[in-house]
């Protein structure tokens, strides 16, 4: 098995970087900082479920918002345009636009994001080589190889494990929220189990009422909720007949907390009617735009991990029509999110992570039956990172002139995830509790999809 470092020429720049921050340096930092932390945590009382947390560098980011481009977005038509590659590669999208950072150009359908290029960095050398949705999703969501007997947790579940309830998270809403539908098998808690599963909102924030599962019941007004609760209490015949007892008191406590979410302030975070109309318009009055707004509200209220599952990027057919329709939507939502986070001083502590499971074939499939579509492409694609300690205005790595191969600085999903974990204060070498009691780490360094190099150039 060859390591990626040998696969790709080491430029002088990367060599220098490795010298300064390379694996040994990282390991050293990881050794020094955690000792103090470990000593500190050893004193606190821990339940049996408490994960052992060998700490790493102190967290710079408090939260991560993952924009999951479900289906795989075309890198050529988003953040890695190739206007010189010709019609067979660009189709109608030949005129990339300049951004507010010199030398960075992105797709012409992303004018709003072009105004914020100083806030994010583009990884143009993403690669894992896998072209299957499920397996590629698994790699990009978990940072682990598919196959094997264990199903690893995705990033959100790991964040929930290390920065959620067990780490003293006291928020009213759960620490890991998915907007609005779950991705299923590969975006879940894996072997970590139910406790770390995301709270999936369901509903649609672009509707008049955002029907969050369990918290906001569609078609049931606030008054009816109150009326029902009063009815429930006035018909509590057994509860009244019984003298105070532990069983019922515990149930009553649970009910009170539930109603704090349903009727009280707990669920308010999902209520977008608090927001100014102008701001809501800026985000875009569609599911994605309003999900971005909800994500900002959640992060603002202290939630450490929010995933927006953004569907519709698996464009085998009618690719360019779909881009014309969806990119402006994505552009508005994501740009407004970055701007809004920055305006509120939240961008420094919030990672925004944009990625799909892979990119799409750089050469347009004009032939039947695709008639102008793009297929799955895991060999080379793009991802975007902003905030939470990631520098903006950089391009990391590059693809070749046609976007088909990684030309410089390949980044494997695991490197990207390790960097995100690093900024969140999660040590990639920390052990994960698992049912078989195996020696399992947050990330397995021996995976082939790792260069063992964090994204030091933008951290």
């Amino acid at each position: 098995m060859s390591t990626p470092r040998l696969l790709h020429p080491v430029t002088r720049r990367t060599a220098l970087k490795r010298l300064l921050f390379g694996a040994a340096g990282v390991a050293l930092i990881d050794r020094i900082v955690p000792l103090a932390r470990a000593a500190e945590s050893a004193g606190t009382a821990a339940g049996p479920a408490q994960p052992v947390r060998p700490a790493c560098a102190p967290a710079r980011a408090k939260a991560v918002i993952q924009i999951w481009m479900w289906g795989g977005p075309a890198h050529l038509d988003t953040f890695d345009p190739k206007p010189d590659a010709g019609n067979d590669y660009c189709g109608p999208l030949k005129k990339p636009i300049a951004t507010n950072v010199d030398g960075i150009r992105i797709c012409e359908l992303l004018p709003e994001l072009a105004k914020h290029a100083d806030k994010y960095s583009i990884l143009r050398g993403m690669t894992h080589g896998n072209n299957g949705h499920e397996t590629a999703s698994y790699i990009v969501q978990t940072g682990h190889e598919p196959g094997g007997s264990l199903v690893y947790p995705c990033v959100g579940a790991v964040v929930s494990l290390f920065n959620g309830y067990d780490a003293g998270y006291k928020g009213r809403v759960p620490p890991y929220i998915v907007l609005t539908s779950a991705q299923g098998r590969f975006s879940e808690a894996g072997f970590l189990g139910l406790r770390y599963k995301p709270f999936v909102t369901g509903g649609d924030p672009a509707q008049r009422q955002f029907a969050v599962e369990g918290i906001v019941a569609a078609g049931i007004t606030h008054e009816r909720q109150q009326g029902r609760r009063a009815l429930l209490h006035s018909l509590d015949t057994l509860g009244r007949a019984m003298p105070p007892n532990q069983q019922f008191q515990q149930l009553d406590r649970c009910e009170e907390k539930a109603y704090d979410m349903i009727l009280g302030d707990g669920g308010k975070v999902f209520d977008l009617s608090d927001e100014k109309d102008a701001l809501r318009d800026r985000y875009g009055r569609n599911t994605f735009g309003q999900s971005c707004l909800v994500a900002r509200r959640l992060v603002e209220s202290g939630v450490p991990c929010v995933t927006i599952n953004y569907r519709g990027w698996d464009t085998h057919k009618q690719h360019f029509e779909t881009m014309q329709r969806k990119l402006p939507e994505m552009d508005k939502g994501m740009a407004s999110l970055l701007q809004d986070l920055a305006d509120r001083g939240l961008l420094d502590s919030t990672i925004v992570w944009w990625s799909g499971e892979f990119g799409r074939t750089p050469r347009v499939q004009w032939e039947s039956p695709w008639n102008g579509g793009r297929g799955h492409y895991g060999k080379c694609f793009s991802a975007v990172l902003a905030g939470g300690g990631f520098k903006g205005g950089c391009v990391v790595g590059a693809s070749d002139s046609k976007g088909e191969e990684v030309a410089d600085r390949p980044v494997f999903p695991q490197d990207m995830i390790a960097s995100i974990y690093g900024l969140l204060g999660i040590n990639p070498d920390a052990p994960l509790p698992n049912p078989r009691g195996l020696d399992v780490k947050v990330l397995q360094p021996e995976d082939t999809h790792s260069s063992r190099a964090m994204l030091r150039e933008i951290m």
């Binding site: 515990q250 149930l251 049912p435």
Partner: protein, 564 residues
């Protein structure tokens, strides 16, 4: 005058409802629904005012110090053998036992405890109207013959015997089905408990063809010590680690010659005695008595023969204590599977009495159940008449407990009108395709689960420990029951509730009454009818929404969620 058949819109998904309704039955189904609806209309009009059950319930509660509608002033039946030791212990400590529970409470409690199923409307109405003195005993007899009794008690034994395909038990799906079927048949045919234990301990052969051999496969680890632990826990209600060293070692020796052999069939395994060591074994039994196993003799048999001897103090004790805990939420020795010298029974006389009765009945579990279920101790109200802390451990009242996860989801799905639970499993999907009509209590495999079952604390069947089941309430559970779209959908789609609304249109009292009978198995109290009536009148809601809200309030009530 009103006849509901099983399978009608208001029947429980019980014995007659187990098969999926093929589409060819659809017309008959509609016809049948119509007939049932007509019957319900007649009932609503003819019996609304003067119902025998209604007046009966009112009569039962009309005494001071008796909490309507949960209690009655006088016992409808004599005390039995179980009651004497309970009462004498309570008297000695000056603790007042609770009042007798009402008929309405009894029919619900007996259904939930014996068959894990809510009573249907017909059963409730017939039972409440019945004036015969022996009706409670007769109900117990009927319940013990129901198919759901076999399902529910096979589920309980499945927890103890660790019936599970996947990690960490790894029985694998085929063997799980065989093992579960064997257990369920044993319950249904009332196999005497000593034979049940002996079969599990001494069988040899293929895990597919000789299902009880799976006992030795359903253990985390196949070394003699792990198996000895499982045997001690299962049949002696004891943790081997609490024994003196020589007896721990002695116990291990009985399981030191088990051979597991693969065949060419996928996941088939032969379990038998390993014949190769030609030596005998000198050992000790858990009671310290000497054990001598001659060459060629199966040590498992020697142990089983010792175990099931009527004079063996462990065997009957562990069984009666376990059964008691299933009915009362706690054992006479508590935890029910932690019997040891320094964990004495709360009431030794009671334990001795049950042991004797069980042995005298030749280990007949149904006879044991009848004895307990027909006792006054079991038929007490759940409302204590004392605040002495030890009253619960001494069984001075029937303790309230949240419904088991499986029982609760079955009840909710029944109200929804038969929609089955959607299952998941860690293993590939084929094994989770289960017909809609299949009850959760009848699920064979502990590896097949659902988000609901996980949320409500169904045991993972990893160890066989009684404490694996978690019936404590959580915030998530409450949010789910109060406000999830799933529960809301179940109510909105409920054929039962729609039928009630349609049939009692214009008769609000009738509507409220039927909903109470349907969901809480009892007549509403006059105050409750008034409260619910005000809710119907109060506002902007149409009748169906108001009906759904009342049903919502009742399924979220303690009375619905808790055995009481």
């Amino acid at each position: 005058m009103i006849v509901f058949r099983r399978g009608g819109p208001l029947a429980m998904p019980g014995a007659g409802n187990n098969r999926a309704q093929a589409s060819s039955y659809h017309i008959m189904w509609r016809l049948f629904t119509t007939i049932a609806i007509c019957a319900l209309v007649c009932a609503a009009f003819c019996e609304a005012q003067d119902d025998a059950a209604h007046s009966n319930a009112a009569l039962q509660a009309a005494a001071p110090g008796v909490a309507a509608p949960f209690e009655m002033p006088a016992w409808p039946m004599p005390a039995n053998a179980v009651d004497a030791p309970v009462l004498s212990e309570l008297r000695a400590r000056n603790i007042k036992p609770a009042n007798p529970c009402s008929d309405a409470v009894f029919i619900r409690r007996a259904h939930l405890d014996v068959i894990g199923t809510l009573p249907d409307l017909r059963e409730v109405r017939e039972f409440l109207a019945d004036r015969r003195p022996g009706k409670r005993a007769a109900l117990v007899d009927r319940l013990l013959e129901r198919d759901e009794f076999a399902d529910y008690w096979a589920m309980k034994w499945g927890d103890v015997l660790r019936v599970k395909a996947e990690f960490p038990i790894n029985l694998w799906p085929n063997a799980v089905q065989a093992y579960h079927r064997w257990i369920r048949d044993a319950v249904r045919n009332n196999m005497p408990y000593d034979q049940f234990a002996r079969a599990l301990l001494t069988s040899s052969g293929s895990n597919f063809r000789e299902p009880p051999v799976n006992f030795y496969r359903a253990v985390q680890g196949r070394d003699a010590a792990a198996i000895a632990d499982a045997v001690a826990l299962t049949f002696m209600g004891a943790r081997r680690a609490s024994w003196p060293g020589d007896r721990q070692a002695g116990m291990t020796s009985f399981f030191s010659r088990i051979l597991y052999k693969q065949t060419i069939e996928w996941k088939e395994e032969i379990v038998c005695m390993n014949p190769s060591p030609a030596t005998g074994i000198e050992s000790v039994f858990p009671d310290g008595g000497p054990a001598r196993i001659v060459p060629g003799q199966d040590p498992r048999r020697v142990f089983a023969d010792w175990l099931i001897t009527p004079t063996n103090e462990w065997f009957a004790r562990a069984a009666v204590n376990r059964v008691w805990a299933w009915l009362f939420g706690r054992g006479i020795v508590h935890e029910p599977d932690d019997i040891r010298q320094d964990n004495p029974p709360a009431n030794p006389g009671l334990l001795a009495c049950l042991e004797k009765e069980f042995v005298d009945a030749r280990f007949d579990l149904r006879t044991l159940l009848r004895l307990v279920l027909n006792s006054r101790t079991y038929q007490q109200s759940s409302i204590p008449r004392t605040d002495t802390p030890e009253a619960e451990a001494l069984f001075a009242f029937y303790p309230v407990r949240r419904l088991d996860a499986e029982v609760l989801i079955d009840a909710l799905n029944w109200i929804a009108g038969g929609a089955g639970e959607k299952y998941t499993s860690e293993i590939p999907e084929p094994f989770t395709f289960i017909p809609d009509t299949h009850r959760t209590i009848a699920l064979a495999d502990g590896s097949i689960t659902s988000p609901f079952l996980e949320m409500f604390g169904r045991p993972p069947r990893d160890s066989g420990l009684a404490s694996e089941r978690n019936n404590l309430p959580t915030d998530d559970q409450r949010l789910y029951l109060l406000n999830s779209s799933e529960v809301q959908r179940k109510l909105q789609r409920s054929r039962h509730l729609r039928a009630v609304t349609g049939l009692t249109a214009g008769n609000r009292q009738g509507t409220i009454r039927w909903i109470y009978l349907l969901l809480l198995s009892r007549e509403p109290m006059p105050e409750e009818t008034a409260t619910a009536g005000r809710y119907f009148q109060s506002g902007a809601l149409n009748t169906q929404d108001a009906v759904n809200d009342l049903a919502w309030a009742l399924i979220n009530s303690k009375e619905f969620l808790y055995r009481h």
